[in-house]
């Protein structure tokens, strides 16, 4: 596709207006305009989220679910409203199926520790894929050590396409869980999770979907997907750090023991015994991340108000444009060219190591990620120590791509 065709597909997203909502984008780096291309690691925050958090702390802050006073009631209302916002965001049947966690990592660990320890035994198999983030590998390794479960790994092809047939071949009578990413953080592949879930459900195997990289880019409907667990993190959807989400089907959550013990999650406690609350509170021991949850609610409202079609059109336009521009650079190879990709572009250059690329780009105001992207097994699969990765969000423009391209040409100049 030519650059002019891409331009003709100009999206209906008012990116200039969006950019004005993100104060950090006005901040020069080394006296250069900031081209922030690392939203897959963590997205920047709009003023609306920042203001919400400040306002919540300045005007309506107290601990939740315990105070007999107005402020506590007000904070509790806002915290629980955020839970409802998250439930609508995922189209969950009920906000009781939304558990707040610290992040995606904790959400997966919660499932592994609570559901996994209860229902998995030696020889039981958990199927993951080659494109998982460490967060969806290591918790299962812990269960492997503790319980002797077996991990099966569904492959991708050289382009990074998820191989549905090969995945289905791994399912057998010992399969107890499929834990799979929705979108690869390292190479952008979109996994056909609806088909994965259908195949698993034909064998009555529940499926956990790691939606960390999907939630910022596409509409997620846990009912349409028929997902059993769906997890994502707040800071990648333009919300604060310290707040993540576990959606779990109510029957599953109800069958699970607590993850951690403490305040908030109990019904009664004596010195001999405790009884526990119903989900989601059973899984939220201790004072939760109150203002972070409220901030996440605002971030979701902000993102949804833009319209998914617009967000996706802009990001896909940027992905195509960046792919074209980067292909102009001699000696640059894009890693991961799956048919269905989110706006994540990994690449290597024959003249320079990703770490050197990252340093030179940084001095040009271009922020990208260089490294293994917490996906070391995938890097080994592609026989690469690391890649450079540009990832796009709602505030990115073709100017960012042009700035990236110019900086990459400078890398060629230095190392070429």
């Amino acid at each position: 596709m030519s650059a002019s065709t891409v331009a003709a597909m100009a999206p209906a997203l008012d990116v200039a207006k969006i950019r004005r909502d993100f104060p950090i984008l006005d901040r020069p780096v080394y006296d250069r305009r900031l081209a922030f291309l690392d939203s897959a690691a963590s997205a920047q925050k709009p003023r609306q989220v920042i203001d919400t958090i400040r306002q919540a702390m300045e005007e309506e802050y107290a601990n939740v679910h315990r105070g007999a006073y107005w402020l506590s009631q007000r904070a509790t209302d806002r915290f629980e409203t955020a839970r409802e916002t998250v439930a609508r965001f995922l189209n969950a049947p009920s906000s009781d199926e939304i558990v707040f966690t610290r992040n995606t990592t904790e959400a997966i660990n919660l499932v592994a520790a609570s559901w996994g320890r209860t229902f998995l035994k030696e020889g039981d198999e958990v199927v993951i894929s080659e494109i998982e983030h460490h967060a969806n590998i290591v918790p299962w390794h812990l269960l492997k050590r503790e319980k002797g479960i077996v991990l099966r790994v569904a492959p991708v092809d050289e382009a990074g396409n998820f191989l549905l047939d090969r995945f289905e071949d791994l399912l057998n009578d010992r399969t107890r869980l499929v834990a799979i990413t929705h979108v690869s953080n390292a190479i952008g592949t979109i996994v056909p999770v609806a088909e994965v879930i259908r195949a698993a459900h034909r064998r009555d195997v529940p499926v956990l979907v790691d939606g960390s990289q999907a939630a910022p880019h596409m509409r997620v409907d846990v009912q349409a997907l028929d997902a059993d667990f769906y997890v994502f993190t707040g800071h990648k959807v333009y919300g604060p750090t310290g707040i993540g989400v576990l959606y779990g089907r109510s029957e599953l959550l109800e069958s699970m023991p607590p993850y951690q013990g403490g305040g908030e999650m109990i019904q009664t406690v004596s010195y001999e015994e405790s009884t526990f609350k119903e989900p989601p509170f059973r899984f939220e021991a201790g004072t939760p991340a109150i203002v972070e949850a409220i901030g996440l609610g605002t971030a979701i409202d902000y993102l949804q108000a833009l319209g998914w079609e617009n967000v996706q059109a802009n990001e896909q336009m940027l992905l195509q444009y960046a792919t074209e521009r980067l292909r102009e650079i001699p000696g640059l190879r894009i890693v991961g060219t799956a048919r269905d990709k989110a706006a994540i572009l990994s690449f290597v250059m024959d003249c320079a190591h990703p770490h050197d690329i990252g340093t030179i780009l940084d001095r040009s105001g271009v922020a990208i990620r260089a490294g293994h992207h917490c996906a070391q097994p995938l890097m080994e699969r592609f026989e690469l120590p690391a890649t450079a990765r540009a990832s796009f969000g709602i505030y990115n423009t073709r100017d960012d791509v042009d700035q990236l391209t110019e900086a990459l040409l400078q890398v060629r100049e230095i190392f070429g």
Partner: protein, 156 residues
């Protein structure tokens, strides 16, 4: 290009990065250690042949990494050959200080090390890039571990 980038990626560093010296596995090495920088995935192995008199008769490395870590490893092998173990330890500490301290003063160090320090000065540009200091020092940490009889070192 900014001045600090120009200083970081000097000709000599680019040259050692592209054509590293002593990139091999000596058959008769009697010390070795693996170095790993989990942050960027750089891995290398340093091999040393230390004589009965404590002299480093041979030093080489294998592995792959960024230009800075490869150049640093390559230059280290050239500098350490013929030094004693004690000198290698001392240079390791001097080099670390050079890469991290703005107050580094070459004149304050042992006059015997003057040549080595002068050659290593080309890597001092990493001071302006705190996230790259570990790249420059990985080979040296690994060499030090090999001398101390440790098998593995990680810079994180």
């Amino acid at each position: 290009m900014t001045d600090d980038l120009r200083e970081l990626y000097q000709e000599i560093i680019l040259d050692h990065g592209k054509r590293p010296r002593n990139l091999r596995h000596p058959e008769d090495a009697n010390r070795e250690a693996k170095g790993n920088n989990p942050l960027c995935g750089d891995r290398l192995t340093v091999y040393l042949k230390v004589g009965a008199d404590g002299a480093i008769d041979d030093v080489a490395f294998e592995g792959r990494g960024c230009a800075i870590s490869t150049a640093s490893a390559s230059m280290m092998t050239e500098i350490l050959k013929g030094k004693t173990e004690a000198e290698a330890h001392r240079l390791f500490e001097t080099f670390q200080e050079m890469c991290t301290s703005d107050e580094f003063d070459a004149a304050a160090h042992d006059i015997e090390d003057a040549d080595a320090i002068e050659r290593l000065q080309v890597l001092a540009g990493v001071r302006q890039f705190p996230m790259r200091v570990k790249c420059a020092t990985l080979a040296w940490h690994t060499m030090n571990a090999a001398l101390e009889g440790e098998e593995k070192v990680s810079t994180e």
